[in-house]
Amino acid sequence: MSAGERLVPVVDRAICSGAGMCAVYAPGTFELDGEARATIIDPQGDGPDDIAAAVEACPTGALRLVPVATTQEEL
């Protein structure tokens, strides 16, 4: 990750099984929707360490952290 970027979580809904580990470690960021699939309610809803713990904890590997530019211009 270079300067001017930050990591945000993304969910692969095709892989998500709805186990809900993400919502244990980062409940401000992830929630399970009506189909029992993880959705992101706020990409910065928890501290970076908690979000990283949630991504690592996903039992089916449905979560990733991807770098995005921090300013609108860079997007």
Binding site: S17, G18, G20, E31, E35, A36, D49, A53
Partner: protein, 418 residues
């Protein structure tokens, strides 16, 4: 709670004490009463992440009669080895449970793999998400905890294993499946192999639950069987309702798992807190520690530390070659104290930074009921903190020991409070 029973028969309290005897259960299932296997786990993990042989053999414990004596066994001790085996479910297959699991529960998610497992588990996952925890608490857990604590809070002393820990999980799960309390204990007795339950209560549970399935097909209610009755399975684009047999496969597995695990886990949680009373004091003032203590106890000492998988192809795991057809024993207890992943891993410390553990296992088969278990422990612990001031071990009673190998838990929890 009064229920119709034989007036000469045992009381409900006596039945709980009898059916939820950790020591007897451990002896019956394991043949062994290991008190602290963790020093041996540490030694073995230091030697190698993967060992040939069963965990019980490696501990030098009296032999746990193997379900598959004819095949080679390997035991996994590091976090990496255990996590890999649980995640790579096609190679380290849950088909291990075909046969023995089928006999107790019927064909179900425990023994399924890959896409089939995914489709079937999705049918019930919605009832067990973190967002559903409030349904479980409001509809079942809060009232059950209140009732259990009310039963002894004026007495100044209690045996928390049978008077609290044993009651909450079985009454929560059987209530949510439409069974009454006496039926729940009758079923439990057969799961333990009593009352002619040679099949682990499979036939008895099927008869009880079939009655509920029939009733819910006529008249839906706000419970788990109704959800299963209304579920549709998508098979290659063709949707069909679950058959009674499929519903029984889910229901028996969930009732058995839900009534026999959190009981001991809550006991372990209370035991470790009673051994460090300063944590109880800190927790009374800062309830955010309750959730952290629950995650930490799952890491520090999970009640069912050993799960098995069948190896479907020749594979190398953490440097050890394992031939197809072998059984691996995934030692969650050893993995959860791997010093590569946690500093000072033998210390119970709720202030650790949160990090995924394998206390509820992992991979696609991670415990379905884990958020209900968390909710049960959370409500029970909060009630203990609120309503039992000055809680401590009863010095007049024998010291509480955590025992067992495959099903660990405290022997008794004799406590006093002011």
């Amino acid at each position: 709670m009064n229920i119709a029973t034989d007036p000469d028969g045992p009381t409900e309290a006596e039945r709980f004490a009898e059916l939820y005897d950790v020591e007897k259960h451990a002896v019956g299932n394991d043949g062994i009463l290991v008190e602290d296997p963790y020093p041996d786990f540490a030694r073995l993990r230091e030697e190698a992440p993967v060992h040939e042989g069963k965990v019980s053999d490696l501990l030098g414990a009296p032999i746990n009669p193997s379900m598959r004596p004819d095949v080679p066994h390997y035991s996994l001790f590091s976090f990496e080895a255990c996590n890999t085996a649980l995640r790579e479910n096609e190679t380290f297959s849950s088909a291990y449970y075909v046969g023995q699991g089928t006999k107790m529960f019927g064909r179900g998610i425990l023994e399924m793999v890959g896409d089939e497992h995914r489709r079937y588990r999705a049918l019930v996952q919605g009832a067990f998400t973190p967002s559903r925890a409030s349904w479980w608490i409001d509809k079942w857990i809060a009232a059950l905890v209140d009732e259990a604590v009310s039963g002894f809070e004026d007495r100044g002393r209690a045996e928390l294993n049978s008077e609290l820990c044993a009651r909450i999980p079985i009454q929560t799960i059987t209530g949510s499946f439409g069974l009454n309390r006496q039926e729940a204990l009758d079923y439990r007795e057969r799961m333990n192999g009593g009352a002619g339950g040679d099949d682990g209560g499979a036939a008895f549970g099927a008869a009880l639950l079939q009655r509920v399935i029939d009733a819910r097909r006529q008249q839906p209610e706000d419970d788990v069987i109704t959800m299963l009755v209304e579920s549709e399975l998508d098979e290659n684009g063709v949707r069909h309702l679950l058959t009674d047999e499929e519903i029984l496969g889910f229901a028996r597995l969930i009732v058995v798992a839900g009534s026999g695990t959190t009981w001991r886990q809550l006991g372990i949680l209370l035991t470790v807190l009673l051994r460090q009373p300063e944590l109880i004091d800190a927790m009374r003032d800062d309830r955010t520690l309750v959730r952290r203590a629950i995650e930490e106890v799952m890491r520090w000492e999970c009640t069912d530390p050993i799960f098995r998988r069948l190896v479907t192809k020749d594979v190398e795991l953490c440097g050890t070659k394992i031939p197809a057809g072998s059984v691996v024993e995934v030692n969650l207890g050893a993995a959860n104290r791997d010093p590569e992943r946690w500093d000072d891993p033998d210390r119970f410390d709720p202030s650790r930074p949160p990090k995924a553990h394998l206390g509820f296992a992992g991979g696609p088969h991670i415990c379905l009921g884990m958020h209900v278990a968390r909710a049960e422990m959370q409500v029970a612990l909060n009630a203990v903190l609120d309503r039992l001031p000055g809680l401590r071990f009863d010095d007049a009673a024998a010291p509480t020991r955590i025992v067992g190998l495959e099903h660990r838990g405290p022997t008794r929890l004799d406590v006093v409070f002011s």
